[in-house]
Symmetry: C2
Subunit: 418 residues, 2 copies
């Protein structure tokens, strides 16, 4: 069987399974999810063994320690994976819920009802727990899922996927509902994302290079975010203590993630007093500052930012700092250099708040809070399949509802069009 035929067969099986999944009740899906969790727990040793094999091979191939860290299924991560499935089972099923309903003058009843998307491809790197997380969210929403993990985690992914499939199928999970691409051939990604008569959506998760490659190749819709260049703008009318606390949190609490602050913008009137204080705070935490001309004039000991700094996602203890004339200038900077992820204003001014919230073209905008809250769990969604900086279908953290679409269901009494 050629690679093309192999991926085609996976796609066809997924479509068939998606038809069966659409018929399952919420109750049945939850029983299946619990069975998937149980089987995973039962095979802890087997999966740990597969994970050790991946780690050994990764060390031989001299993968970076960051990559090896992401690859490792610690006990805590394993428990998280199992609990993730039972937590998803406990969430409300959005499928079949009514978005809106109205009656036309001719008596036609129009209902807009949530339905599954169909078949979803997930393309990801290193973290084997994505295999279970993504499968759980897709099954909960009656979507068939095709998983394509990285070569470095293939043994772990195979062991996890087998547990999910066999556990679920005991309770009625349709074969083909959860499939892992078995080959590590790189061309399989291309074949998969061009399968536009089978896949309804692809969600790539991983580094920017992976996401760009998937987007370039895809013939099916992709929901994604390339990166998170998040800004905090400290307005002239900010409470300085609040601003200090939020900025420190946004930059330092977990600098390696997409919702951490990368650039600080400060109003010119506040800059002379605020910049020395935030610099002291940041430097005490080990953050390197890179400033624009005005910032460097106020803070003599920091490096100058280059033009590239403003569009750099450091994912590290580095912060670029610019002084701006007003909220409009802050908005212009963000819309020019930002990544439409998460941006915050710290202010007590109604006017500045309104301008910022209306004009910053990002999926999540904050007033007087840390950008670190952009997360499905922090939003109260209970689960997250990813974060979108796209404009269409889903923006920001994506939970269960974002894995559904809708159909119009129209009920008549014989109405015909005049």
């Amino acid at each position: 069987m050629s690679l093309h035929e192999e991926i085609r067969a996976v796609g066809d099986a997924a479509v068939a399974a998606s038809r069966q999944l659409a018929k399952l009740t919420a109750r049945r899906k939850n029983v299946i999810l619990e069975a998937m969790a149980d089987e995973l727990a039962n095979r802890r040793e087997e999966i740990a063994e597969a994970n050790r094999r991946d780690l050994d091979e990764g060390k031989e191939r001299q993968l970076s320690s960051a990559m090896l860290d992401r690859l490792e299924l610690t006990d805590k991560r394993f428990d998280g994976m199992v609990n993730g499935l039972t937590n998803v089972a406990a969430l409300k099923d959005p499928v079949g819920s009514k978005i809106s309903r109205w009656i036309r003058p001719n008596g036609l009843e129009i209902r807009k009802i949530r339905v599954p998307i169909g078949v979803i491809g997930i393309i990801y790197e290193s973290r084997p727990n994505v295999t279970a997380d993504a499968a759980g969210l897709c099954i909960k929403t009656s979507n068939a899922v095709v998983l394509r993990g990285g070569k470095e985690s293939i043994h772990s992914n195979r062991a996890i996927a087998a547990a999910l499939q066999e556990g679920g199928q005991k309770k009625g999970l349709p074969p083909g509902a959860v499939q892992l691409i078995q080959t590590t051939d790189r061309d399989a990604v291309r074949e998969l994302v061009q399968l536009d008569d089978c896949l309804d959506l692809v969600i790539p998760r991983g580094g920017e290079a992976l996401i760009r490659a998937v987007t370039e190749m895809a013939r099916v819709p992709v929901i994604k975010h390339y990166k998170g260049i998040c800004h905090t703008y400290v307005d002239a009318e900010a409470d300085p203590e609040m601003a200090l606390s939020i900025c420190e949190n946004a930059k330092c609490q977990r600098p390696g993630v997409c919702n951490a602050m990368e650039t600080l913008l400060v109003h010119k009137d506040l800059a002379p007093t605020f910049l020395p204080r935030i610099a002291e705070r940041m430097q005490a935490r080990g953050v390197e500052l890179r400033g624009d001309e005005t910032a460097c004039g106020i803070l003599s000991d920091i490096a100058a930012a280059s033009e590239e700094d403003w569009s750099e996602e450091y994912l590290d203890m580095i912060l670029s700092v610019a002084v701006v004339d007003d909220v409009e200038a802050a908005v212009a900077h963000i819309n020019r250099y930002g990544s439409s992820h998460s941006d915050a204003i710290i202010t007590n001014s109604d006017a500045a708040r309104k301008t910022f919230l209306a004009e910053v073209d990002s999926s999540t905008v904050y007033v007087n809070a840390s950008t670190r809250f952009t997360d499905g769990g922090e939003f109260g969604m209970g689960a997250e399949i990813g974060i979108s900086t796209d404009k269409l279908h889903a923006r920001g953290p994506m939970g269960l509802e974002e894995l559904t679409t809708y159909k119009y269901v129209i009920t008549g009494k014989g109405q015909i069009r005049e």
Copy 2:
């Protein structure tokens, strides 16, 4: 200026305009729309003259009579174009409306607010009235629009676009908000749909060949429908009189449109009595029937359908007819051969109705009504930018709401993430 630079300049101007449009109040946008309508009305003669030029050139180039018909701006169509703009002005503006709102335990207020998509490309053929219709819907929703009409209607489109721009700009329409691609170079479409840092969405409107070409080339999201292969399934428990009336309407009332019925499916128990009656009705209207083996056994005077007939969008007085064992077989036929547009069941059975509505994977599903109602106007949306058979963002008729996306607006009191 190269073609690439020309289209890039259009895209950049559209992005700049979209930032300005996002700041306009609903009231200001309505004043602009009224001014666009007025200027269009003022230039009736000038636009008619441009349209005559297109028609003359079209005749010289021996365009089909159907194409020339679509090209012609009759008085009625001209009035419709002007009234379309004032009607859109009168509709409720969805931008800024709240989709949902909740408070997190830490006191963060999360609001999900409708916002414009940004910059929308519309690629269309022949009908010059699309120029005004699409511009009106986009401006109403604060989206900048880049219009690319067919070569055959270039003079009409230029005259209409100039009227819209100049009329709107008198009342504050940002330059760049409504732009028509001036060149008729075919490569301009490719340049446009690959401008993924400027365009947020492309909507192609026209024949299937155009839509497929746009989708193949695009690097930006496309919302579309290729075709409408709509089915009516007459169940064993259908009211035969209602079924006759609905089928006749769905096939004959306007056969050349995407929501007309192309295939009739009849339950095997009803077929012996129903098929002769519907055949008589259809043949009296001049409809050619093409049947499967069972249908041909009951109706001796009709042609046999080939395998291709089941996926053919006739757009004509032709109807394929199949006899099916039950509602599950009808669903399977529709999901296999249909186009996810609009499909109807005629039945008084609760069980058959539920199965059909849940399992037919189409954007609009009907019980006891004609598929001809799939239309923004018939849905009560007041306007329509197109119909989507895609799964993501928008399905079915697309009105103003479907030209918006959302952002999360989060208000805190200094919350930081623990």
